[in-house]
């Protein structure tokens, strides 16, 4: 094999390795941390690193009581009439956020597992 051939082959191999490494990194990174962010009227009011929770964590934001565990986050109590945020239950991926319209509250998992779809029609 010619010397120059070997050089390019090595370069190809190195590039391929780099690609594979990048792919593995990209695949692994999000699962390292799942972060829930709570907004009121568009302003961030709390940020919870779910994967770092040793035990369930509770907090009250306005009229909503929020319950977070390593697995996900839920609104468990709301002082509004429609209760749709409570009915939604726990969210565990970056798909649908929990929204409490009357209190303008949005609970969203921003980094973490992504669902296998782009949006939900409801």
């Amino acid at each position: 094999m010619r010397k120059s051939n070997r050089f390019w082959l090595m370069l190809f191999a190195a590039l391929l390795l780099l690609c594979a490494l990048a792919a593995v990194l990209i695949a692994l990174l999000p699962s390292q941390g799942s972060t829930a962010v709570i907004y009121v009227d568009g302003e961030e009011v709390a940020r919870i690193e779910l994967t770092q929770l040793q035990e369930p964590y509770e907090l009250t934001v306005g009229g909503n009581r929020i319950f977070a565990t390593r697995a996900g986050i839920a609104v468990v109590e709301a002082d509004c009439k429609d209760q749709s945020c409570v009915r939604q239950g726990m969210i565990t991926d970056t798909g649908m956020p929990i929204v409490c319209l009357p209190n303008r509250l949005v609970v969203q998992i921003e980094s973490g597992e992504a669902p296998e779809f782009d949006a939900v029609s409801s």
Partner: protein, 345 residues
């Protein structure tokens, strides 16, 4: 003599070397291009054309999120927020500064050109569905308290009275979000956006395909379990709108009343369906039709599909069956184990 021969062989060698160098450079040229392309491909991972821009807002009594890709993304989502608030201010039935509010208060000249066009379109859809959706039933919807969340069950007398009198009031609730999606999608296409996802609460609009050229996957929420999904549909350049009694309802004396009022009976529609999803290019049509088909029930809805064919739909029945129109055979996937595909009639 010896020297001469040697000289010849020497020149021959030189020629060979030169030819070899020429040959080798042409080969290396090819070989450098490929690695160069590879490097470009790697750089492509952080290419601006797939960068995403998201923004969200509360408008039209819902939470909305807009995501656009590419270099026009940021300006596109900013413009979308402006558009939706401008529409809300114009079309809201409860905002005393809106055109609709003024019209409902008796000012028959209150509607601007664009609002009038939307009203006409909504009325046309009403007519083609034999008034299974009717933007003029605002007095009825208001009597049930669905616009103010002061829920109550009106007496039969009150309902009969409201059904009998000719309404001069409008409520664009059945089309406003779909129309907003149409308007924003059109603005984005004009601004050169080739990939965007508009989530107007549960109304999903997509512009083009995903940035990588593949189809968008939209999940249909399970009417019985908000954290589960009936199935998914794969689309490009479409609106997907779902209507169901599960979205907004209240209970009184053990009876559940939902917000989709049948314009003919004045009561929440009981048609055997728990949710209807409409897929078509026009968000306005999808929005209005999802309500109308829900009110009609499966058989009439399928007949409407056979008659018009300008939309596709997914129906979930009270008996946990899922029906789809012919055009969705390849793009719909059932996910939930709760449901079975109904036999096509």
């Amino acid at each position: 003599m010896f020297i001469l021969v040697d000289f010849y062989s020497f020149s021959f060698t030189i020629e060979l070397v030169i030819r070899y160098i020429i040959y080798e450079t042409s080969v290396t040229m090819k070989k450098t291009i490929i690695p160069l392309l590879l490097c470009l491909l790697l750089l492509g991972a952080c290419d601006k054309s797939t960068e995403s821009f998201s923004t969200s807002t509360f408008a039209m009594d819902t939470y909305m999120k807009f995501t656009a890709y590419g270099r026009h993304g940021q300006s596109a989502v900013d413009e979308a927020i402006e558009t939706v608030h401008e529409l809300d201010a114009r079309l809201s039935v409860t905002d005393s500064a809106s055109e609709i509010y003024a019209y409902n208060s008796g000012d028959s000249d209150a509607l601007g050109e664009e609002t009038q066009a939307l009203v006409d379109e909504a009325l046309a859809i009403g007519a083609r569905t034999d008034w299974a959706v009717d933007i003029r039933i605002y007095p009825l919807v208001r009597a049930w308290g669905f616009t103010t969340e002061e829920y109550r069950v009106p007496s039969q007398e009150e309902i009969d009275e409201l059904l009998a009198e000719e309404s001069t009031m409008l409520d664009l609730g059945a089309v406003a979000k779909g129309y907003a999606g149409d308007l924003i999608a059109a603005q984005m296409r004009e601004a050169g956006v080739s990939s965007a996802l508009l989530e107007l609460s549960g109304n999903i609009h997509c512009v083009g395909t995903k940035p990588d050229g593949s189809l968008w996957t939209v999940a249909i929420q399970d009417p019985l379990d908000p954290s589960s999904y009936v199935g998914t549909v794969k689309i490009a350049d479409m609106a997907v709108v779902t209507s169901g009694g599960y979205e907004r309802h209240f209970e009184q004396d053990g009876v559940r009343y939902h917000h989709i009022i049948d314009p003919k009976t004045g009561y929440p529609a009981e048609s055997g369906l728990v949710s209807v999803t409409v897929v078509c290019e026009s968000g306005t049509l999808a929005d209005a039709l999802s309500t109308a088909l829900f009110v009609m029930g499966l058989d009439d809805a399928m007949a409407h599909y056979d008659a018009y064919g300008d939309f596709e739909a997914i129906f979930v029945t009270q008996d946990d069956e899922v029906y789809i129109t012919a055009g969705l055979t390849d793009s719909f996937t059932l996910l939930s184990e709760r449901y079975v595909m109904g036999a096509q009639s």
